[in-house]
């Protein structure tokens, strides 16, 4: 068997991983070499920018690395997405990281390593690669969640995350072992061939495997009833990691969902379709209902993101080229929106050190720009017109309806309306109340730092841009999904 070892195909991953190692070494020898603390985010940004250029250069390649990693438009789409998320995240939160995180060198290193894992999850074409990529992403995040400085919630959140994550991985693996046993291969293409040839006569083992795989992936995507870790990990983690969990980690899991359920597992669609439909309904309903009673902004966004996962699972249920590209577009819109909100919350936390919803009182007076960013972000998540969430949700619902799942979309519409209530709670605090005066000038006007303006500004423009003129993003998503159904 001839394997193709063209290492240049993995250039973006290699660039990011090398940067991660460099950052950790730079941190370890910081005193000896008289390096400034600011150098660490700068090295990370530089490495990510190089990786971004590499992934764009590989944009038209369609090849595989040693039958382990597939490089095509789908991989490129997620590479660009994940690198961009990490870039923006570092720009927007380096001040927070400097002040509120233990071991900043390791923190940047872990962020970069988890980006590598996420990119490989999107590119894997073999179950072993996929599994290792999942663990690279998860392990980095387990540790990163625990790195908050002087916050006892952080260790607790990490413990819950790592224990439940371990169980979920074990279930996923047990499921994969049955799929391997039934089909006799770990290669996506061969699994697909074995399943569609129809000579699989171990139906019980196949169904058991599928159920366990869905449970494991459902945990990673925080679908109800496997969501119990999500609010705790979101609340206890440093805010940049909360943003990262809700953005990259989620998108990477859906990349894997798409790769698996539109590829190797597609021939077994009759066995898994109803499970995912059920999961998506429970996730939408529970996520949005429990969000109603939250008083911590990170927890609120955790439940809101669970609700969003329900919408995304609809697309996997009704999998086709159309719903697939709608899902990719929705992921882009959701990532931009969510990051915009989180970057604004980080800026707010840097100034005030607060994260309860009723502490956002009067933000419209003390910092109208930030209030505008948060409001447009929340409205976008709720699906208001002219903002990203409306367009992407509209296309998503439309594609699911045309795939014949009208009842799912009706549930989604109701859940989506419910979500408006708790988003408005936050907006009410910012616009309808006077700022509280604690004697330290907390009711005075204040400004963001330059990088704060930069990160929130880019994302705010992104939210409006996708909302008003989504065509380029739509075309990008359309092109990215094509190789999966070729």
């Amino acid at each position: 068997m001839d394997l193709n070892f063209r290492y240049e195909l993995l250039a973006p991953e290699i660039a990011v991983a090398v940067t991660a190692v460099l950052v950790m070494f730079a941190d370890a020898f910081r005193n000896e070499l008289n390096l400034k603390r600011n150098l660490l985010p700068q090295i990370s940004l530089l490495g990510l920018a190089v990786a971004l250029v590499f992934s764009l250069m590989l944009g038209n390649v369609s090849d595989d690395f040693a039958r382990l990693v597939q490089i095509d438009e789908f991989t490129t789409f997620f590479r660009v997405l994940f690198i961009a998320v990490t870039l923006i995240l570092i720009i927007g939160s380096h001040e927070y990281i400097d002040r509120h995180v233990n071991h900043i060198g390791e923190f940047y290193g872990l962020l970069l390593f988890s980006t590598v894992g996420a990119m490989l999850m999107a590119g894997a074409r073999d179950l072993i690669t996929a599994y290792l990529a999942i663990e690279v992403l998860s392990f980095s995040l387990y540790v990163a969640v625990s790195l908050s400085k002087n916050d006892p919630r952080s260790g607790e959140a990490a413990l819950k995350y790592v224990l439940l994550g371990g169980v979920a991985s074990a279930m996923l693996l047990y499921g994969l072992s049955f799929i391997y046993g039934v089909t006799g291969s770990t290669q996506y293409s061969e699994i697909s061939a074995a399943l569609s040839a129809g000579n699989v006569d171990f139906e019980t083992a196949l169904i058991l495997g599928l159920v366990l795989v869905i449970a494991g992936l459902g945990f990673k995507a925080s679908a109800v009833p496997f969501h119990m870790w999500t609010p705790d990990a979101y609340e206890g983690a440093p805010i940049p990691i909360t943003a990262y969990l809700s953005a990259t980690s989620k998108a990477a899991t859906f990349a894997l969902f798409l790769r698996w359920f539109a590829g190797p597992l597609l021939p077994a669609i009759d066995h898994w379709q109803w499970i995912l439909a059920l999961l998506s309904v429970i996730t939408m309903v529970v996520g949005n209902l429990v969000a109603l009673q939250q008083h911590n902004i990170k927890r609120l966004l955790a439940y809101s993101s669970i609700g969003q996962v329900g919408f995304m699972l609809m697309c996997i249920t009704a999998i086709s080229e159309q719903t697939g590209s709608a899902l990719l577009l929705h992921l882009v819109g959701y990532l931009i929106t969510n990051l915009a909100i989180f970057m604004a919350i980080i800026a707010f936390y840097n100034r005030t050190g607060k994260e309860e919803i009723n502490q956002f009182k009067g933000l419209a007076q003390t910092n109208p720009y930030l209030a505008l960013v948060i409001t447009s972000g929340l409205f976008s998540l709720a699906g208001m017109p002219l903002l990203a969430g409306f367009v992407t949700k509209f296309i998503l619902f439309q594609s699911v309806v045309s795939a014949g799942y009208l009842w799912l979309v009706i549930v989604a519409l109701v859940a989506s309306t419910v979500s408006l209530y708790y988003y408005l709670q936050v907006i009410k605090q910012m616009y309808l109340y006077q700022p509280e005066d604690d004697g330290n000038g907390s009711n005075h006007r204040w400004n963001l730092t330059v990088t704060g303006y930069l990160s929130t500004g880019i994302l705010f423009i992104g939210v409006v841009w996708v909302g008003v003129y989504a065509t380029p993003f739509y075309e990008f998503a359309d092109k990215a999904i094509a190789p999966l159904f070729a």
């Binding site: 290792l132 607790e156 224990l163 074990a170 693996l173 047990y174 046993g181 609010p231």
Partner: protein
Amino acid sequence: MIPLENFLILSGFLFAVGLYGVLARRSAILILMSVELMLAGVAINFAAFAAYLDVDGFSGMIFALFVITVAAAEVGLALGIVLRLFRERRTSYVDAANTLKW
């Protein structure tokens, strides 16, 4: 030759014992050990399937090796996190981790 079913029963038993342990134990260390049992079941499953069904290929064996390696890494990492919790609360029981609710 020992039939494949015997291996599958063994691995299923290990997995079930591990899952029970995760649900029933209250000490973080014992929960970790139970996760290890689940992963041991997985590794046996992969090795057995590789030996019986995928005779020309090694991917199942390689997968089993990776499962064992990653499991070891996971324990090291989780123990570090347990240690952090222990420093703060002087206990490794998961019931003590109760500040985050709903």
